[in-house]
């Protein structure tokens, strides 16, 4: 049994702690978090999934489908897949038939450009778009449990496949915007994502190891949440932790950060549904 986690007050760091973080000397070699296409040649890939930073017991929870609580969300999504919803009398299966075939590899390329919406969207937004525009149903709020179920089920069809970020001009622009957000200091604590996830990755912060921020496990079951959540919920936690005004779910900034993280993780295997502390 999993003990009710006494809530990692993870990034609820006071300013005192933050300045302690800042006094760490960044490792001289500044981790080579290679972006897409950069890791060529004989270079060892220094990128590590958040999985590698977890305790063995949590790793087992992720690996074993009979214990992994996120599989309950996958099961929920599977049931919803063939459920008729909305004014048009259609289920996801009416158009996409068997998810095993039609959704294989789909999660590996999101966020992606939507020619219907004329902007870059993430997987939750694509599913919600189908729900509203194609099924004629009321869209879910982002991060709603039902939407997370569907997203988990879709992402599950790509488990083990390699992250393959889209490379059209609009998505690339979003990735670039995400990169500048990633490198920009923000919040009252005045830290950038890069400060923690590149320069201080592998160090500890209030009892947590700082991972490299690869998005390969999402949606995932976080013990601190006692539930499955999407990548943007995770980003929201980090933003609140540095006392920055969090971007809204589905906002251009959130999607841009997501697009950059996926690009940084190009070629790493998808783990969803993963487990994290």
């Amino acid at each position: 049994m999993i003990g009710k986690s006494t809530k990692t007050v993870l990034l609820g760091l006071g300013l005192g702690l933050a300045s302690a973080v800042l006094t760490f000397a960044p490792p001289a070699h500044a981790a080579t978090t290679a972006g897409a296409g950069a890791g060529a040649g004989a270079m060892v890939d220094a990128r590590k999934s958040g999985y590698e930073f977890m305790l063995p017991a949590t790793q087992v929870l992720q690996r074993d489908d009979s214990q992994n609580p996120a599989m309950l969300w996958v099961k929920d999504g599977a049931a919803r897949w063939s459920q008729i919803e909305g004014a048009n009398g259609k289920s996801c299966a009416s158009c996409h038939a068997h998810a095993k075939a039609s959704m294989k590899g789909v999660a590996a390329k999101y966020p992606a450009y939507s020619s219907s919406l004329k902007r870059v969207i993430n997987l939750q937004q694509q599913i919600n778009f189908c729900r509203a525009a194609r099924q004629g149903a009321v869209p879910f709020a982002l991060e709603n449990p039902a939407l997370l179920g569907l997203e988990s089920y879709v992402a599950f069809q790509s488990r083990g496949m390699l992250t393959a970020p889209s490379s059209d001009a609009v998505t690339v622009a979003a990735q670039n915007k995400g990169q500048s957000l990633f490198n920009q200091r923000m919040g009252q604590i005045d830290l950038s994502c890069k400060d923690c996830h590149v320069d201080l990755a592998g160090r500890s912060l209030a009892g947590n190891l700082i991972p490299q921020a690869h998005p390969t496990g999402y949606p995932l079951y976080r013990l601190a949440w006692q539930a499955v959540g999407g990548l943007q919920r995770r980003l929201r936690n980090c933003l609140v932790g540095i006392r920055a005004e969090p971007y809204a779910f589905g906002s251009e900034e959130m999607v841009a950060l997501e697009a950059y993280l996926v690009k940084r993780a190009a070629g790493m295997p998808l783990e969803s549904p993963a487990v994290r502390p």
Binding site: M1, I2, G3, K4, S5, D65, S66, Q67, P69, M71, L72, K75, D76, A79, L223, Q226, A227
Partner: protein
């Protein structure tokens, strides 16, 4: 209906010690927390779990294999695993029950050779 994931071997040798696993989707709300709006969240717990074994061809509610009482300190989506000795073919009947009239029963069959 809550989603469940059961792991029970479909076949076993007579006398074999087998492991059963049961995972269920449930909030296990303690009754001690407030929502982000400051409102107390009412307690919503699974209070008990039982696993009984009903031998094939027999009637009644079967023999108790394992039971547990669950409390507020147990995580959401509780996972239970336990062992028993397989001695006959039949059905494991797993029942969770708790607050707000919650009750759910799942069955798993086993063939013992």
């Amino acid at each position: 209906m809550a989603h469940t994931i059961l792991t029970v071997p479909a076949v076993a040798k007579s006398g074999e010690i087998i492991e059963l696993r049961a995972l269920i989707q449930h909030p296990m709300e303690t009754g001690y927390r407030r929502s982000s709006e400051g409102v107390m969240l009412p307690r919503d717990l699974i209070r008990s779990f039982t696993c009984r074994f009903l031998e094939r061809g027999k009637s009644g509610e079967g023999e108790l294999v394992f039971s547990a009482t669950l409390h507020a300190a147990i995580s959401a989506n509780p996972f239970l695993s336990f062992h028993t000795t397989a001695y006959a073919s039949g059905t494991f009947v797993l029942t969770w029950s708790g607050d707000n009239g919650f009750t759910q029963t799942e069955r798993a069959h086993i063939a013992v050779r």
